[in-house]
Subunit: 207 residues, 2 copies
DNA sequence: ATTATAGGCTAATTTCGATTAGCTGTCAAG
DNA sequence: CTTGACAGCTAATCGAAATTAGCCTATAAT
């Protein structure tokens, strides 16, 4: 991999653990295997490295998001996918989202970095909220609205349904970011949450 | 207020906005209205100031927690309080918790500081998780278990109930920490969440 | 009245960390 | 071959920022 790219990787790695201010350019250089001044052949300053990470991650997120929305508008296409959503389907979807957010190397590191730096810059705060709250909530709200419309789920406020479905995943994700060793303890809880959620909102009363 | 105490207040205020590393002792001194070297008459280092904040906040939290538990064990006493919990009672409780966490000056600033510093020190990570996840969840789990036992709520996994009840409050709190101006948008959502939650778990099927 | 202490100040000191200067080897294009 | 850009290095530079030294005043206890 090019040195330039490697610098971004190592910098993200370090920033996500210690925050921008506590990482020295010499640390980044060492992680890359070069000396600090050599970094300046690739980026004009420490801040420039940070900005490059930001740009890269924003692009990558937008690509992902575009992939999810596929079509023009919102989760209409996925309506098909979820029209027949079963409890197991919901579990699979929730777990998939959780596992991806939690384990994707770049996603996780970027999230940790944003967590640390969010109060330093309003743009970072916006980004965090968009990627980890607003976007997932609005996507899922659209999905639940459709599942209600299709008669699969009860007709309740879909924003609330999305909030109740997603926020446990979010909260547990933040816990696991702090304590990766506790993940095993939470996996079953998440699955139970989704099944219980499904049971509560499912239309058919009897079985 | 004593200078010594004022230093802690101003330091917490600054740390909660910019993080430890980005706050200079000169900033703290200026906020207090003295010169940087004078700080050293009260604390032996910048780190010492941070530690003092930590100690103070831990004590304060323990006092609060002791007050909630009142009795010896867990939320048994509150069982009484919640034995007859109505939907409105749950709303009042949830909103109260949310408003307290979000608006109490010290609680909020301390939480922001922990948010920024959580990955720098495992002790801080523990503290954050305890105060904002483990403790609330275990308290509420006990409460819901009792409400189920009392026949008020359905008999579902109380850990999951606590997770579903609390995590929306937690997630929205983290959003409001970043964007205080959005609070108004979320208050109604929280209330709807709690009422919908209550409706879903309430025992009486018909009305 | 004397003195010790607390708490403040200014002026160093010291250390650290980002960045710049300037040199060097490599290698591909001409 | 030879030249220029690239990517590395070592050795400055330069500016913070924490902390220390040493001085001063008020005040409270002796």
């Amino acid at each position: 991999m090019s040195t330039k790219k490697r610098i971004l990787d190592e910098a993200l790695n370090l920033f996500s653990k210690k925050g921008y201010a506590n990482v020295f350019v010499a640390d980044i250089a060492e992680a890359v295997g070069i000396k600090a001044p050599s970094l300046y052949k690739h980026y004009k300053s420490k801040q420039d490295i940070f900005n490059a990470i930001l740009d890269e991650m924003k692009q990558s997120y937008d690509r992902q998001a575009a992939m999810l929305d596929m079509n023009g508008n919102n989760a209409e296409a996925d309506a098909m996918v979820f029209a027949d959503v079963s409890e197991d389907g919901l579990v699979k979807m929730g777990m998939g989202l959780f596992m991806y957010f939690l384990h994707d190397e770049y996603v996780q590191k970027f999230r940790k970095m944003l967590t640390i730096e969010q109060f330093a810059d309003p743009e970072l705060a916006e980004l965090f909220t968009k990627q980890y709250s607003d976007d997932p909530l609005s996507y899922q709200s659209a999905m639940f609205a459709m599942l209600s419309a299709n008669g699969v789920l009860k007709e309740e406020n879909p924003d609330v349904m999305a909030l109740q479905f997603y926020s446990p995943l979010f909260m547990i994700m933040t816990i696991c970011d702090r304590h990766p060793e506790r993940e095993a303890e939470f996996i079953p809880l998440i699955e139970q949450h989704i099944r219980q959620f499904s049971g509560l909102y499912s239309k058919e009363k009897d079985k």
